[in-house]
Symmetry: C2
Subunit: 248 residues, 2 copies
């Protein structure tokens, strides 16, 4: 049964403080929930309008009405099920050749999209500044489309981390070397800054290289690109390089 | 004065039918409003918490309180001002060498991001299927960051349009030629499909070339990339080609 008390707890999980208090987060939609069941995450309970569709899950399933689903879902168009999962603390893996570094990304949609992008390009770790959007925010989980299960997202003091990393620190900015003319090294930290303010000065100091995406449009007013779109373009170039190497 | 009646009308403008009924849409934030004032759009009135900041605007300005601003703004964190503008009907320009074609993009944030991306790469027109998200949706306007003023977004019957276009029709899909190995022609229609279902079969039939972004990650579950991120990667490759030509 879905009690009013449970609804209240589940709805509170859009806030980090309540996710941490209850040690829980939500995952929506059977497709991702199935991947979740095959992962290291512990699923505590699933609320579903269609329990028969969850035969892969051996734990507790509670049948709910579509109306109840709308009450606990964070989606505009709720899917079939909502899984309640225990938080896990990811540990930094120091042995990753190519990783993304996020310095203060605020928008959960951007973080989720970048996790999905990392997964696509086989990047296994994202190191975030401590003020980057929370990995367990329902919008991050949903925008990542299940990729949050495959990319190790950790939160670190970036200045300390980058100072002690043996990789080239490559930043992206409004000025610098054209990403279309740059030869990427085999190992790198690829750093993206906050949506409005870019990379912070203390992190900028640690860069070995600054890259920019040249603007082909002529309008002086054109804003910088959305950070996750910029990340896509830069990763495209980075992997184009490694593709050319493979083809040699 | 901001009357209750005005608030009701302004709030209704998040729906297409009311934008069309009143022939109005909203633009938020002084930065974009300033660009708007320099454009062909007609600004009917500006509501602002800081009228002094709008000295560039010679029309009607109504001072409102931050509380009133929160009532009429579609943003989570409202900016300084909200401009009420008259809709314009963009006309198809048949003389564009490189343009984006959107077949049923649903998410306003994706449409806005793709308008911003087009503007960055100097692409002056986006041709949308009639069921693509509405250009004047406040989320599109906001995500485009003012680029909606510089890119001509039109709605057409895509099948008819593509059949009669003299450009190469290049689609993006889960299979096809690797975008990293493809030489883009000088003139093209670059087609992106719906977030969930891709390009429709009747449009797919009209493609001269299908491109894909190879997946470097090894996980079989990885979802396709977000469509605006994919557009960034493909445009990066398209313009890399023209850059190499320029450098020859």
């Amino acid at each position: 049964m879905l009690t009013a008390h449970s609804v209240k707890i589940l709805k509170s999980l859009d806030q980090k403080k309540f996710r941490q208090k209850y040690n829980l987060f939500l995952v929506e939609g059977n497709k991702i929930i199935k991947e979740l069941a095959n992962s290291d995450y512990e699923t505590q309970e699933i609320f579903s309008t269609n329990p028969e569709s969850l035969s892969f899950f051996k734990g507790k399933i509670t049948e709910i009405s579509p109306e109840q689903l709308r009450k606990i879902s964070f989606l505009k168009t709720p899917k079939d099920s909502v899984a309640v999962c225990k938080l896990r603390k990811n540990a930094l893996n120091k042995d990753i050749s190519r990783q993304l570094i996020l310095d203060g990304i605020q928008d959960p949609g951007n973080l989720g999209t970048m996790i999905r992008l990392a997964d696509w390009f086989g990047i296994r770790q994202i190191v975030c500044s401590e003020d980057t959007a929370d990995f367990y925010n329902p919008k991050v989980v949903q925008a990542s489309m299940g990729s949050f299960l495959r990319v190790n997202v950790v939160y670190e003091n970036l200045e300390h981390f980058l100072k002690n990393s043996a990789r080239k620190n490559i930043g992206t900015d409004m000025s610098g070397t054209s990403v279309f003319k740059f030869n990427f090294p085999e190992k790198f930290n690829l750093i993206f800054g906050n949506e409005g303010n870019g990379i912070r000065p203390n992190i900028e100091k640690l860069l070995d290289e600054k890259l920019t995406i040249p603007r082909f449009g002529k309008h002086q007013f054109t804003e910088s690109l959305n950070v996750s779109v910029a990340a896509g373009i830069v990763l495209g170039q980075a992997f184009l390089g490694s593709l050319l190497l493979i083809n040699k």
